[in-house]
């Protein structure tokens, strides 16, 4: 879970179990929060990607990493759509899914 809360505004990103989602959603919305599902994970164009790894150090959720062959692995499920990697990628290989 990642949160940023101050006196006037707050944002929270959490990974919740599918079957508990509805209860949590109702609980938060009944208290005035707006709940949205982050279902547009990052998408990598394998043709454009040169496996440099520039994306690795800027992702706050560790979506990216190298495997033993120095290929960049992408774990889309961890993506919180912050967009940092999109700006970092020198080859424009990353886009948020539609």
């Amino acid at each position: 879970m990642v949160a940023n809360i101050d006196s006037t505004y707050g944002e929270l990103i959490a990974d919740v179990n599918d079957f508990r989602f509805d209860r949590i959603k109702n609980a938060l919305e009944s208290r005035g929060a707006i709940v949205s599902i982050l279902d547009r994970p990052i998408h990598r164009d394998d043709e454009e990607c040169v496996e440099c790894g520039a994306c690795i150090s800027v992702c706050p959720m560790n979506v990216y990493g190298f495997d033993v062959g120095w290929n960049v692995q992408v774990d889309e499920k961890k993506c919180i759509q912050c967009g940092m990697c999109i700006r970092m990628c020198p080859h424009g290989a990353l886009k948020l899914g539609e």
């Binding site: 040169v50 496996e51 440099c52 790894g53 520039a54 994306c55 690795i56 150090s57 800027v58 990493g65 190298f66 062959g69 120095w70 290929n71 940092m84 700006r87 970092m88 020198p90 080859h91 424009g92």
Partner: protein, 500 residues
């Protein structure tokens, strides 16, 4: 004592029984067999690198038009190239950005598009002569329409390169990628163990005339690169290769957000193992290659070094800065560097590539010089206004409005009781307060996050800050946050108006 000749090795290549390994494999071989054993067994060590090489460009010839034109200015897909050489020769640099598409498209992209056989629009203008009467030309060409299309890259394959980090509070967009604030990340570039010049640091076999793998074709080293600085271990290469023989797997245009375009070049250099010294040199490992992490928060040419680090630490994915774990990112592709070293190994084994000795060695001594500047760098204190209007934070919005009106000065520096800058207030903020019917203290309507500058900062840095954050003025403060003056875009534009 091992003494091989280049001819022996080329004969073995021809016969198909040459013994080639990559620079990564060589590390293990020298560990197992010793330097002498490795020198006897191994004939050639291949190296490779695939990274951003900004100092790259295409030398091309369009052929003459009917009626003939002596091109003065030329654009390829709205990216300007240089044509001040003869009539239809042009040089297209990788980092030249498009006139129309911003920094997402530049010379590097045109070069990659050409390589991918795409059509390129050419627009050329000239002043016209008797022998070259034509003044405007528009045409569309592809790579095969050109007479020559040769990559002549003035500075490629750095022997070493500094890593980058950012101590400031804001994200920086640089040619080393996005640098996160407060030492949020470290970026680096270089193939380490596979890096060509790092494997031949005395430039014994890499020199003028050395045949190399470049962009998937066979090309040559044509000299030391610009800014060659061998005395500090920062050697560079000037290389050439025929674009028509290259492969887009090894030549890719790139764009760094907020910085511009560059060309990722794949370069591989074979090192013939003629003696023990070369065997030892090619056994260099990531942990032997040491560089510094520079702080890009400082906008000057000489950036402070945060610490030294080796390539093994960088490649581990994490380095320590002030006891904190900082994630690292490579900007160059190690996977592709391996692919290149491996492909070059295959070419040698299949008798498709022969090694050469340089016809002239690269300089082993020398230091890169900074630019000579004959005009003094103006500092903020030279151009700032020292007429400043201040207001205390507990004064009212009405007091502020009065001060702005009486002094005809739009920016009020808000100070605390002890005289330190705590905020800034402009006529804009007053308008907003009036619109919201809020007439409380200055403190409640002022902007607290004030952009400031120091009196001894170069004007260029202050101008960049004003530009980047879209503010119209910045208070100039000393280390105790006392306001010494204010600098506005007016002060700066007057300065530049005088210059030009």
């Amino acid at each position: 004592m091992v003494r091989k000749s280049i001819h022996e090795i080329n004969r073995k290549i021809e016969d198909g029984d040459v013994n080639v390994v990559t620079a990564e494999e060589m590390v293990g071989i020298v560990e197992d067999f010793g330097v002498e054993g490795a020198a006897k067994e191994v004939d050639v060590v291949t190296t490779g690198t695939f990274g951003a090489m900004c100092s790259s460009g295409l030398m091309l010839n369009l052929g003459h038009s009917e009626s003939p034109i002596k091109i003065q200015k030329v654009w390829f897909n709205n990216v300007e190239a240089y044509s001040g050489i003869a009539a239809v020769d042009a040089y297209l640099g990788a980092t030249q950005i498009s006139d129309t598409r911003g920094i997402q498209y530049g010379g590097a992209h045109v070069i990659e598009d050409l390589l991918r056989e795409k059509e390129i629009n050419v627009h050329a203008t000239s002043y016209g002569t008797d022998c070259y009467p034509r003044k405007v030309l528009d045409t569309t060409i592809t790579l095969e329409d050109l007479n020559e299309a040769v990559l002549i890259n003035p500075r490629n394959a750095y022997q070493n390169y500094a890593a980058a980090t950012n101590s400031s509070k804001r994200i920086l967009n640089t040619y080393m990628g996005e640098l996160l604030p407060n030492f949020g990340n470290v970026t680096y570039s270089g193939a380490g163990v596979l890096s060509p010049l790092s494997n031949d640091p005395d430039y014994e076999t890499i020199g003028i005339g050395t045949r190399i793998f470049i962009g998937g074709a066979q090309g040559y080293v044509i000299g030391n690169g610009t800014q060659h600085s061998p005395s500090t271990g920062f050697g560079t290469l000037m290389v050439k290769g025929n674009l028509k023989e290259m492969n887009p797997d090894y030549l890719r245009a790139a764009s760094f957000t907020g910085y511009g375009t560059t060309l990722y070049m794949g370069i591989g250099i074979p090192i013939p193992i003629l003696n023990e010294k070369l065997a030892a040199a090619t056994a260099v490992r990531d942990e032997d290659i040491i560089t510094k992490i520079l702080d890009y928060a400082v906008g000057s040419r000489d950036k402070p070094s945060i610490r030294q680090v080796n390539y093994s630490e960088l490649r581990s994915g994490m380095v320590q800065i002030d006891g904190k774990d900082v994630p690292t990112s490579s900007l160059s592709s190690f996977k592709n560097a391996r692919k290149i070293a491996s492909e070059l190994k295959d070419w040698l084994k299949c008798g498709e590539f022969f090694v050469t000795m340089p016809v002239e060695r690269l300089p082993r001594k020398g230091l890169v010089k900074p630019m000579k500047q004959t005009q003094a760098v103006p500092l903020v204190k030279d151009v700032m206004s020292d007429f400043i209007v201040t207001i205390k934070k507990n004064q009212t919005v009405q007091d502020a409005a009065k001060k702005i009106w009486e002094n005809s000065f739009n920016h009020l520096a808000v100070i605390s009781d002890s005289g330190e800058l705590v905020g800034i207030l402009t006529a804009w903020d007053i308008s907003k307060a009036v619109a919201e019917n809020c007439f409380d203290s200055v403190e409640s309507v002022m902007t607290k996050k004030v952009l400031t500058c120091a009196p001894n900062e170069p004007v260029d840095i202050a101008a960049r800050r004003l530009d980047r954050y879209g503010v119209s003025a910045m208070p100039v403060i000393n280390t105790q946050r006392r306001v010494l003056g204010i600098i506005t875009s007016d002060n700066i534009s007057k300065l530049f108006a005088r210059r030009y």
